[in-house]
Structures are given as C-alpha cells and as structure tokens.
C-alpha cells in the first residue's frame, strides 16, 4: 500500500546504474539535482505519513534473517548482492542501536536448506557487525529455507517477556525456498506469538513472502536498485506500531552513577563485562558504572546486570528514543510569496529560486526545505516551537 506509492516515485530514478558508489556518495552531493529532489520529496512524504502518538513497540527484539544461498552471488547489485547487503547492514546496525538504544538484535543466515544463528539476540552493535563482516568469506551455496530460518527466530523470540516487541526482518535474494514441511504452520505459530515479519526481496515478488508479511502485519517490498534498497532497509529503523497482543508493563531499571567521592582516588575494581571475554579479559580499572542493586561494575551501558538481572541504562539512553513518540510536527509546504525574508532556523535568505517554503503548523515559523528535512530526519525538535514558551509549556503538560 504505502510501498507501492513510494515505488512509483522511485521509478523516476532507476535511470542510474546499480553501483555501490551511488549509495556511498549520496551524502556528498554526487547525485544529480533532480534525483536529490525526488528523494527529498519522498522523505517529506514519509514524514507526513507518520502518525503521532500511536503506540510503538519500543523494546524491540529483531532477528535479521539473511539469505546466504547461491542467489546472493548475483551481480545485479555491485559488486555482488551479498557484499552490497553486508555494507548496508553495517550502517543499518549502527543506526538501529542509535535510534533504538534499549532494543536487541540477532542475526540468522539461511543457506543450503539450513538456518544458523551467527549472532545471538543482544544489544551490542559491535558483536553483530563483527559477525556480519565474517560473512564476507562465507561460501554461498544451495537454496535457502525460509521455514527453517523463521523457526530458529521463533524459538528464541518465544522466550521473551510479554512486553517485548518481536520482529523478524528477512532479506532474501532467492526466488524459491526449500522447506521441510508446510510453511503455513510456521506462519500460524508466528501469528500466535505476535512476531511481525517483514521481507525485503532483492529479485522479484514471491507469493509466500507477500503472504507472510500480510498475515503477520509486516511489510513486503522488492528493491529497484541499491539506493532504493538502502531506503527500504532504513525504514526498519523506526519502531513499528505495537502489536495488538503486546502487553504493556512497567519495567524495573537501574540508572547507575559513577562511584566517586570528592577528593579521594577511585578504587581499582574489576568489571563484569569482560570476565569471560577471551580476547580482552577483565582488567582492574578505575571508573565504570555500578549496578545500584548489587554493585557489580560494567564498562558500558546499556547492559543487563549479570549478577542480579537488572537492566542498567543511563537517562540519555532512554531519551534517544523519545523523538519516536514525540516527533516534531510535519511542516506545510506552501508557495513562496515573501512570507519571510529568511529561513527561521538557518538564516538563509529566500530568493526567487525558492519555489516552496515550509511552515510549522504550531509555531507558524517559515523554514527552507533543507531545514525541514534536517529538522524531521535528525533534529526532531522544531526550532520555532522550542523558542516559543507557550508551545513548550503546553507540550510538557
């Protein structure tokens, strides 16, 4: 539904080649102005579609189900489907944890009819990126089994507490799946457990993928080129609407503070996070974060206390997610007729070249298109509203 409309916009830009370079350079302005313009408009449109204040599944548990079968060696994405996918996934994982700081991710690969978990469900991006990079050397063999892959994910997601949002994101290049039994029983089981399954196809539309997405409230889309691929993948950074069967609960969490007493040297202590790490080992260090419940020490947050099980986070970790719930209002596009001489936030002077300007419905300030996108993509705060005491007060009530 949404994807079909987006796809229409993207058809305009299929003129350029599917090269990895095109993705890498798009921030540096290598693409033609018209393409930039189309992407800008697509971004604005997607922002406009976001529904404010819908309940979101914030504590996400997402399995990436990655096709590593023979079909991934296809070179329609440069240099290969797999290589392009791995590069995009590295970016995706970084951004995922930046935007979903207390969520968890796991990676499962499908090849030769088997499914293997190469990275357990965890909140540590570096572990996943390390696992992903080793796939560079994996040999792409046989057919994938979607059913086996889904079953591995389901087995682990089933064990999560009932307030956890459960998701699977399948990236598949193959047009076939080689399953041991009827995949419909697996789809039914996923539905029962409230696992939302989304699929990104790298080749062409496949019926079973469409059905899986439709029945589990996920999305299904097929890429047009590498730039579209990145875009589709990055749509999964946003937390999805909460599943209907998702329980809500209050979760006990610890907010550790560093143990310092004015004027004294910090004690040397051992951290719990490196205790069983073979490469690094646990070192005696000063500093670190102490569990407020049992006083175990950790080098990094967020982490689940290994001793008492308390989830340890810092307040800014939680705050990184607040913009999903309290987004900046969408701006209205209007024709430019000297409403304002300059953009309210970046101070750019409007000229005849600015055909449209963008107005915040709340504070009614006027912005340029670059600020409109920057504000909604990155900043998440309207500078006009944030410098208006009346609006600020009413927001915080």
């Amino acid at each position: 539904m949404v994807d079909e409309e987006d796809a229409k916009e993207y058809r305009w830009e299929t003129g350029y080649e599917k090269t990895w370079e095109a993705i890498k350079e798009d921030d540096e302005g290598f693409l033609e102005a018209s393409v930039t313009d189309i992407i800008q408009r697509a971004k604005r449109k997607r922002q406009a579609q976001k529904l404010p204040n819908t309940k979101l599944g914030m504590m996400r548990h997402l399995y990436l189900l990655l096709d590593c079968s023979d079909s991934m060696s296809n070179q329609d994405l440069k240099p290969t489907r797999l290589y392009c996918t791995l590069k995009l996934l590295e970016l995706f994982i970084e951004e995922f944890f930046d935007q979903n700081p207390i969520s968890q991710l796991g990676v499962i690969i499908m090849q030769n009819k088997r499914a293997d978990k190469i990275s357990e469900l965890t909140g540590n991006p570096r572990k996943h990126i390390k696992a992903i990079t080793t796939l560079n050397r994996t040999s792409l063999i046989g057919e994938p089994s979607l059913q086996n892959g889904l079953n591995v994910a389901l087995k682990s997601l089933k064990l999560l507490p009932s307030h956890a949002s459960r998701e699977v994101l399948v990236i598949i290049g193959s047009l076939t799946t080689c399953d041991p039994t009827d995949i419909n029983t697996t789809i039914d089981a996923l539905k029962v457990e409230g696992v939302r399954c989304s699929i990104i196809g790298l080749a062409a539309e496949v019926h079973i993928c469409k059905q899986l997405a439709a029945e589990t409230n996920g999305t299904y889309s097929v890429i047009l080129d590498d730039s579209h691929y990145k875009d589709l993948l990055f749509q999964h950074i946003e937390p999805p609407p909460a599943a209907v069967c998702l329980d809500s609960s209050l979760i006990k969490m610890g907010f550790p503070h560093q143990m310092v007493t004015e004027g004294t040297d910090e004690p040397l202590t051992m951290c719990m996070c490196h205790v069983d790490s073979v490469e690094e080992g646990s070192k005696l260090t000063t500093g670190g974060y102490y569990c407020p419940q049992c006083c175990s020490k950790y080098c990094e947050l967020p982490v689940e206390c290994r001793v008492c099980g308390l989830t340890l986070v810092s307040a800014p970790h939680l705050a990184r997610s607040y913009h999903h719930l309290f987004p900046a209002p969408s701006f209205k596009e209007t024709d430019y007729n000297n409403q304002s001489l300059i953009c309210y936030s970046c101070q750019k002077s409007f000229t005849d070249l600015d055909k449209h300007v963008y107005q915040c419905p709340k504070c009614e300030r006027t912005f340029c298109i670059d600020c409109d996108i920057f504000i909604h993509d990155v900043l998440h705060t309207c500078p006009g509203c944030a410098t208006n005491p009346a609006i600020l007060q009413s927001n915080s009530d």
Partner: protein, 299 residues
C-alpha cells in the same frame, strides 16, 4: 568574510583548508538572577564576548563567527545578522572588522532588548537557541567549498538555571550535535547546570562554572579559545563526573532504580497502574500474574 591578518598562523596542526566556525549563544535574558540584581553586568558580558569573538577571528583568517542572543521569548542571530542596515564600507584592516563586529552586535542587541516586554521570565530558551545554531551550522556545512573541512562548535554563556521542561529539546539537540560532530561548550556564570553539563559530556565539550564574573574574559580565553583538537595538549580543568541518573517524570527527582513504561519509556520512581504520559494501563505485578507468566518472565 575574508580577513587579511599579519599575525602568524599556527602551522603545527591545522592545514589552511580547515575552517573553524564558532557559534556563541549569549543568554541576555534580563529575567536571569544575575542581570535582575545587577543590570550593568550585561555590558561586561557583552564586551567580554565581543573581545572573545574577535580573538577567535584573529587566530586564523578562515575562522568564522556567529553570535546569538537568547531570551525567554526569542532567540536571534545578532552577528552576522540578516539585516543589512549597517553601512559596511570598505574594510581594509583588521580593526575595521572588529569595529564592525562590535557595532553589529550592540545595535542588534539594543533592538532585541527594546522589544522585550516588561513581564520578565527567568526561563531562557537555550535548547531552542541551540537547535537554531545546529540548523545554521548545517547550512554552512552544506555550502562550504568542496575539499574544505569545517570544524564547528557552540559556546553557551549563561547565568540561568536548569530547565526541566526543555529536557526533550535539550536531549534532541545533544544527540544531533554528537551526530554532526559539533562540540558544545558551556560557561556557566551563576548556577550549576546539570543538563547542559550532560550535553558537554555527550559532545566532548568543556563545562566550566566560573568562580567569579570579574574574570569572565580570562576564563573564556584560557579555557574556551583553544580548538577542540588541540585541547588534549593543554592543561585545562579536569573533567567532572557527570550524573546520568534519571529524573522521574512524576516528581522530577533523581532516581537510582526506577520503573520504565514499556510503551513510551517514561520513568517513574514507583509502580503505578497507569502511565501518566501515554495512558497505558499496566498489568499488575501481582503474584497471580507472575505465576502464569513464570516461564516467560525469566529473560
């Protein structure tokens, strides 16, 4: 603007195609305690900021400067300033540029203060000013000549206190600055600012609460003039441990252990059956609920 300076440029670490942009946000809100009790302090602050801004421009000919004034109801760029009212004659020496900086700032500041209404508020909307500064920096970044590197930082100079109701905007601003590699420095004139201190920590900036206002210019030049890349080589005030504990949404009190809503991540200091932020009704953690979910609860 291009400045022709005779002063020797420091060659040891900066290459000439690096531009250093400094945005100063000066809290000129007449409602802050410092200025209410002692209005002439403003002149001293403004003079120190002008001298400091000029020192930044003097360091390297490519350096750029922008200054904002932040109030309780408005935040504006007072330098360079959009209005072309000042008659810019041919500038043939550094002193003319410095005079221009001073005249622009003072003229624009007079305009803002003249329109300030008589009801004073002590809330300065610093998070809003920071968000404008980030958009401004983002534009300069977009329009910089190709192949040239822009190092941007923001210095906040304020006598106001922490403001809990700007919390969300502050956090958005800090994470954006961190992503865009913009350093946020804070010079607190009157009160300790724990929120802004977190911002300095997140963006690798410096936080300093100055002991007395008389020495403002010295502190600015000593602590905040050196650019972030050379700071590790200097003897600067030691970093302070930042308190990252959370403030509960119900009482705004700092908590070690709290309860977090699984839907909206609001933090509460004790269990309540309904989330006051998103109105979600929670499952009671009674013995019955625990029993039926026993298998699932152990994570």
């Amino acid at each position: 603007m291009s400045l022709e300076l005779e002063t020797t440029k420091s060659e040891d670490f900066v290459s000439t195609d690096e531009i250093s942009l400094l945005v100063i946000i000066l809290d000129t809100n007449p409602g802050q305690r410092l200025l209410r009790e002692n209005p002439q302090t403003l002149t001293q602050c403004v003079d120190s900021i002008i001298a400091f801004g000029n020192s930044h421009l003097m360091q390297k000919s490519q350096n750029k400067l922008a200054i904002m004034a932040c109030h309780s109801k408005t935040s504006e760029f007072i330098y360079p300033g959009a209005s072309k009212t000042l008659d810019i004659r041919q500038i043939d020496g550094q002193y003319e540029v410095f005079t221009l900086v001073e005249r622009t700032i003072k003229t624009n500041l007079h305009k803002i203060i003249a329109t300030e209404n008589t009801i004073l508020s002590n809330e300065s909307l610093l998070a809003g000013a920071l968000s404008m500064a980030l958009c401004y920096i983002h534009r300069i970044q977009r329009n910089k000549p190709p192949g040239c590197k822009l190092n941007s930082r923001i210095l906040v100079v304020t006598g106001s206190g922490d403001s809990a109701f700007q919390y969300m905007s502050y956090m958005n601003v800090f994470f954006t600055a961190q992503k865009q590699n913009v350093v946020i420095d804070v010079c607190a004139l009157d009160q300790h600012l724990s929120l802004l201190q977190q911002g300095c920590d997140i963006t690798n900036g410096l936080y300093l609460k100055i002991p007395q206002l008389q020495g403002l210019l010295q502190y600015l030049l000593w602590v905040f003039l050196p650019e972030p890349p050379i700071r590790p080589k200097l003897v600067l005030p030691p970093p302070v441990k930042v308190d990252y504990r959370a403030a509960c949404f119900c009482h705004r009190e700092m908590v070690d252990i709290g309860y977090v809503c699984s839907v909206c991540l609001s933090i509460f200091c004790k269990f309540s059956p309904i989330c006051t932020t998103c109105h979600t009704v929670f499952k009671m953690p009674g013995p019955l609920a625990v029993k039926s979910k026993k298998k699932k609860m152990k994570l």
